[in-house]
């Protein structure tokens, strides 16, 4: 009888749909994947090792380079860890600026995901629409921090720069605009038959699997777990805002798609409220010593990044440098489930499944 030949295919590290230097060794029979082995580490820069020789403020730029699509959350998690240890409380105005910046970053990150995901599935236009809106966000964050992606904006105890004049108004104006565009996105893509047939029921897993594999963010919420650290373990000033956690039950790529798009809406809600409550004036930096020396001990904090739980562990021996610094990088954890999802799948679904996990290679490799 005829036996088809299995072949070994290296997807990546240079492949348009791995979104970075990620390699996937797959064994395929025709177009059916028999086995998939992810190979990572091409972008490992040893942030944690480098950090052991740096002061806390000096580490912040390194965090920008982990999840470079939502660097504000990375900034924040480090500052938050240090603040938790040292018991520093950032002034209100700074806290609001941080939240606005983080939520803008979350929207930008989801927009990039949306655009590139559609690009992976073969639709070219949504990418350009998404990037138009993202560009506006980037410009706003640029005005705030002076950088487009690697912001280096937050400091232990506050932020580096105050908002420029009229900036808050810009954010205020952006919210309704973005809502309108989001509506357009749904009209353009969400109801498309081909798109639905490509993502519905693809790469689905159960709630138990999601928890067992330590997934987080939209990857966890798509299975029906109502879990968002902004709500469940409120940090910063998130307890002051009224917003929802978008949850879906199916656990497939379609559910993840909806979770992310609805998260944009929720972020817009937060932005709206934050702009309204924004304190007229006040300091943007708590009175912290020039050289921050957290007390001896260790601390692990986790916050909600666009990709899931980002955590920061600091072990300090009372010196100005951390003794050990560790980031819990959500993409790294989320990616673990990939081999399980890919087994027995069609080659074309590889892209749909990988894309739906939403990884950033800078974060996977640390």
């Amino acid at each position: 009888m005829i036996r088809t030949e299995e072949m070994l295919l290296n997807v990546g590290p240079q492949h348009p749909s791995t979104h970075g230097v990620f390699r996937l060794v797959i064994k395929i029979d025709g177009e059916i994947i028999k086995e998939a082995t992810p190979v990572i580490g091409y972008l490992h820069r040893g942030t944690e090792k480098l950090a052991e020789d740096l002061q806390y403020t000096q580490i912040i730029p390194y965090t920008d380079r982990m999840d470079y699509l939502a660097a504000m959350t990375n900034n924040y998690v480090l500052c938050h860890a240090v603040e938790t240890m040292a018991g520093i409380i950032a002034p209100d105005r700074a806290e609001y600026l941080r939240v606005i910046a983080m939520e803008l970053g979350r929207i930008a990150s989801h927009l990039v995901w949306w655009g590139t995901y559609l690009l992976d599935i073969g639709a070219t236009s949504p990418f350009l629409y998404a990037f138009r809106e993202r560009e506006m966000i980037i410009n706003m964050l640029n005005e705030l921090s002076g950088a487009r992606l690697t912001f280096n904006y937050m400091r232990v105890g506050g932020v580096k720069w105050d908002a420029p004049e009229g900036w808050i108004q810009k954010v205020h104006d952006f919210v309704p605009y973005m809502r309108e565009q989001l509506e357009g996105y749904h009209q353009l893509v969400t109801g498309n038959e081909i798109f639905m047939s490509r993502v519905k029921g693809i790469g689905s897993y159960t709630k138990e699997d999601a928890i067992n594999y330590s997934l987080s963010g939209a990857n966890l919420r798509c299975t029906g777990v109502k879990w968002d650290l902004r709500k469940n373990e409120p940090y910063s000033i998130y307890d002051r805002f009224d917003f929802d956690i978008p949850v879906r039950q199916d656990g497939d790529a379609w559910a993840r798609y909806h979770c992310r798009l609805e998260e944009i809406e929720e972020s817009l809600k937060i932005l709206e409220q934050a702009v309204e409550q924004f304190p007229q004036d006040g300091p943007i930096l708590a009175k912290v010593p020039k050289i921050i020396k957290p007390p001896k001990g260790e601390s692990f904090v986790r916050i909600e990044s666009p990709r899931g739980e980002i955590g920061c562990y600091i072990a300090s021996n009372g010196k100005k440098e951390p003794y050990r610094l560790k980031f819990r990088r959500p993409s790294f954890y989320n990616l673990q489930i990939l081999p399980k999802l890919l087994k027995g799948e069609n080659m074309a679904n590889l892209i749909t499944i990988l894309g739906a996990i939403d990884i950033v290679l800078g974060e996977v490799d640390g």
Binding site: I40, G41, H44, G46, E48, K49, T84, M85, A86, G87, I88, I89, A90, P91, D92, D209, I211, N212, Y213, S214, L215, S216, V225, W227, N232, I237, R240, F241, D242, Q273, E276, Q277, P279, G282, P283, A286, K287, V288, P294, P295, G297, E298, S299, F300, V301, R302, G311, Y313, A315, Y323, R324, K326, R328, F332, Y333, L335, Q336, I337, D365, G366
Partner: protein, 203 residues
């Protein structure tokens, strides 16, 4: 409930809350900054009873002398911290997962650290059923860097353990596919160890 309230009212409330908090914070920030901590330390942590429950549960099932230590880590949002011994680590982890009172079904974080005298594995667990968190730690002798793997309990421990092995050289026995996940198999040495000498010192 919050959902039932009108949006207007909510906004107003939130604004008031914000104002109050802002006042309080500014006051605090201006006067005390770091000095707030010692004052608070005197009173017992709100999480003390949770820790007691954990310890009780462990002692009930596994007997005494199982844990090396248990305390509330005040620097880390008052998280109950359990320190297991290398030989009891796996048993404690199993109990933490399968005991109904504990039911820690979610492994949030696993990493290691080199503390020169010993190495340490830090595991942050969370229970969705009980909405509680715990930090499980284990200290390992540098001479015998071996510890049971948690992958059979939590699939999510797979890559983090690989990473720990890769960067610190802690071997996890029973791990399905322990490999140097980030640096590659040909890398020499374990970079996150404190005594690690880079191949090219200048770089």
């Amino acid at each position: 409930m919050a959902e039932e309230k009108g949006l207007e009212q909510l906004k107003k409330e939130a604004a008031e809350k914000a104002k109050a908090a802002a006042a309080a914070r500014e006051k605090g920030a201006a006067s005390a900054k770091v000095k707030e901590e010692p004052a608070e330390k005197a009173k017992p942590s709100p999480n003390q009873h949770i820790l007691d429950k954990y310890v009780q549960e462990i002692e009930n099932h596994l007997g005494k002398e199982i844990l090396e230590d248990s305390y509330i880590n005040r620097l880390s949002k008052d998280i109950p911290t359990l320190v297991a011994k290398p030989d009891t680590y796996r048993k404690v982890a199993e109990l933490l997962k399968y005991n109904e009172q504990l039911a820690f079904d979610y492994l949030s974080e696993l990493h290691g650290g080199d503390f020169e005298t010993h190495m340490e594995v830090y595991v942050h667990l969370y229970s969705f059923t009980n909405q509680q968190a715990v930090a499980l730690k284990v200290k390992i002798e540098r001479s015998n860097l071996e510890i049971p793997s948690l992958v059979p309990l939590w699939e999510g421990a797979n890559w983090p353990e690989c990473e720990t092995y890769d960067l610190l050289g802690i071997r996890f026995t029973g791990h399905p596919d322990l490999k140097r996940i980030l640096l590659g198999e040909e890398w020499i040495g374990y970079p996150l160890r404190k005594d690690y000498e880079p191949y090219d010192v200048e770089v």
